[in-house]
């Protein structure tokens, strides 16, 4: 019951946020260079005035702004995002076709960065004031300061061009005709570089968070008690410190996971990974504004889904949360 209420509250909040983003998108389309009729119709560059007038009438652009807004919002409520002007295909279909690749990439990168970050962070916390701990933190700072797209490009140079270990582009080998297990292996090989480069930056964040959180938890009274009881330090670290340090990490990890969608735009661009990030880059290059805004809406929706999942995991992990207190 408690969880049901929590989920309903979060979904309501999500709907409000998405609604605001739709309104925001609507006004952005009004601001976009060019004729909104052309943009909405997906025919930018059309010179035929008669045709544009027809479109204006058909899409209700001759109507007052609030009527247009209503039409736009109700269209999106029915998953009608209009057309991409270069490709002449509904925006929704394009995004749906690209979504699985992005989910695979961001999901892998998220798990990878979280696991590595927690391991590195707890190692650094256990080695405060030792050189090995400082080295871990220095590396974390280095990864944090490195531009994602640059790491991606450099890893192509090193691992793909010079060493020839891993493929640099695409989701699978085109024309190889792999099926079943061979296909899965092929995709996994293609996934290594994009997922690792995307994970590095977030790993740096999680490492710092884990260290801080563990050092905070180590100051708590129950840890002193455990120490006074004479428990082994390794057991205290694992059972008492890490367990309690994990809760704040989950919350912050969920917030950061949203930013992973943004990072995916860069990695997918470099690795020609056919996800919505790459689609966004293509939309940018062709000034395909309606497609661009559709992807923007979806990336925000993804973030919200991520956040809801985090909230649920958190409420399952923390027995203290009982009465839907967000």
């Amino acid at each position: 019951m408690v969880y049901a209420r929590l989920i309903i509250m979060r979904l309501l909040k999500a709907v409000v946020v998405l609604f605001l983003i739709v309104i925001f998108n609507f006004f952005l389309i009004q601001m976009a260079p060019g004729d909104p009729a052309a943009i909405l119709a997906g025919e930018a560059g059309a010179t035929d005035q008669e045709f544009l007038n027809q479109l204006r009438e058909r899409f209700g652009l001759d109507q007052p702004l609030y009527v247009q807004l209503w039409r736009y919002v109700s269209g999106i409520a029915m998953l009608d995002f209009g057309y991409s002007y270069r490709l002449g295909v509904p925006v929704f279909d394009l995004i749906m076709a690209r979504l699985p690749a992005t989910l695979l990439l961001t999901g892998t990168a998220f798990v990878l960065s979280l696991v590595l970050g927690i391991v590195a962070g707890s190692m650094a916390a256990a080695r405060v004031k030792k050189p090995s701990g400082s080295i871990i933190m220095a590396l974390a700072l280095l990864f944090y300061a490195t531009p994602l797209f640059w790491v991606a490009l450099m890893s192509v140079v090193v691992f793909s061009v010079y060493l020839g270990w891993l493929p640099a582009y695409g989701l699978y080998t085109v024309g190889a005709g792999h099926t079943g297990f061979a296909l899965a292996l092929d995709v996994a090989k293609h996934l290594v570089l994009p997922a690792t480069t995307l994970a590095l930056f977030f790993m740096a964040i999680y490492t710092r968070m884990t260290r801080t959180s563990m050092l905070d938890a180590a100051q708590q009274d129950y840890v002193k008690t455990a120490r006074a009881k004479g428990l082994k330090p390794s057991i205290i670290q694992r059972r008492h410190v890490l367990r309690n340090a994990l809760l704040p990490i989950i919350t912050l990890a969920g917030l950061q996971a949203g930013q992973m969608v943004g990072g995916a735009i860069l990695t997918e661009t470099v690795f020609a990974w056919p996800g919505i990030g790459r689609l966004m880059f293509e939309a940018l290059q062709q000034r395909d504004y309606n497609l661009l805004l559709g992807i923007f809406f979806f990336s925000a929706a993804l973030v919200i889904v991520f956040n809801i999942i985090t909230d649920l995991v958190y409420s399952l992990a923390d027995p203290r949360i009982k009465k839907g207190a967000s």
Binding site: L20, K129, L142, W150, L153, L284, F296, V303, I304
Partner: protein, 277 residues
């Protein structure tokens, strides 16, 4: 201990400060050392580094001098980092101060507004804003400011909430100072040190954001920037690694230096809270 002595105790911060000063020097010296426009084609394209005098970092796909591009790019990166952070502070500080000082329903509304901006993926929002406003230094600065003010508002709000019931604030209220005066003269000066630390880290993030935007082709078409150089060389990475390598190192060093300086400022300004190391 003096402020600088506390700052210099953190070795990393000192290294960061030196790197940062070098990069500022690069930005200032760029027009003197490379008076020609970094966009001009001056040699044959794809010249490798160290292969010819005057072109220590080689030339790009159009025969432009990479070294000149990096020197001129320093100026743009620092400028956009500083200005966009200032604009973000101008949005975030007042919102956070009002929310934290007044509390209640005003706080509720302002915080929902802040949360809304925190939910939207930063980078995607920045891309959309620049694309719609058309790429220029102004639109990039605005977009970066719009995506980076929420942490400022949250920080300032938390500080104001913890300070608003202090005795000196009560005293100011008793002598009849207006709310505006109390906010600006009494509380705000006491929140400056965490704001300064956050701001130095925000400049670093802004520079990363700017480079990512120009990498995607959303840079101001009139100014040479590091991100643009990497983006333009993306497709020829197999033939000419150096075109992407050097601008990337420049971004890395700048962002790293700013982060180190930020940590040093944190140690120097908040001595009580300085982290265990």
């Amino acid at each position: 201990m003096s402020f600088f002595a506390r700052f210099a105790q953190n070795r990393g911060a000192l290294v960061g400060l030196i790197i940062l000063l070098l990069i500022i020097a690069m930005a200032i010296l760029a027009p003197l050392l490379f008076p020609e426009s970094p966009w001009r084609m001056v040699q044959r394209p794809f010249l490798p580094p160290l292969s010819q005098d005057g072109f220590p970092l080689g030339t790009d796909t159009m025969g432009r001098n990479v070294a000149a591009g990096i020197m001129h790019g320093a100026w743009v990166s620092l400028l956009i980092g500083l200005v966009s952070t200032s604009v973000a502070l101008l949005i975030g500080v007042p919102l956070g101060a009002i929310a934290g000082y007044y509390g209640g329903i005003i706080d509720d509304i302002l915080m929902r507004f802040t949360e809304f901006f925190q939910t939207i993926p930063n980078f995607a929002l920045a891309i959309v804003l620049v694309a719609i406003m058309q790429p220029s230094v102004t639109s990039i600065v605005l977009a970066i400011a719009i995506v980076s003010w929420p942490p400022v508002a949250r920080l300032v709000r938390a500080e104001f909430m913890s300070l608003r019931n202090r005795e000196y604030v009560e005293a100011a209220r008793l002598v009849g100072q207006s709310n505006t005066t109390i906010i600006l003269r009494q509380i705000l000066p006491n929140t400056l040190s965490p704001i300064i630390v956050l701001a130095s880290l925000m400049v670093a993030t802004a520079i990363l954001l700017e480079s990512a935007l120009s990498f995607l082709g959303l840079g101001d078409p009139n100014v040479m920037s590091w991100g643009y150089m990497i983006g333009a060389a993306r497709t020829v990475i197999r033939q000419a690694w150096w075109l992407s390598f050097f601008p990337g190192v420049a971004i890395l060093l700048t962002v790293l230096a700013l982060n180190l300086v930020g940590e040093g400022l944190d140690d120097a300004l908040n001595p009580k809270l300085s982290r265990e190391r």
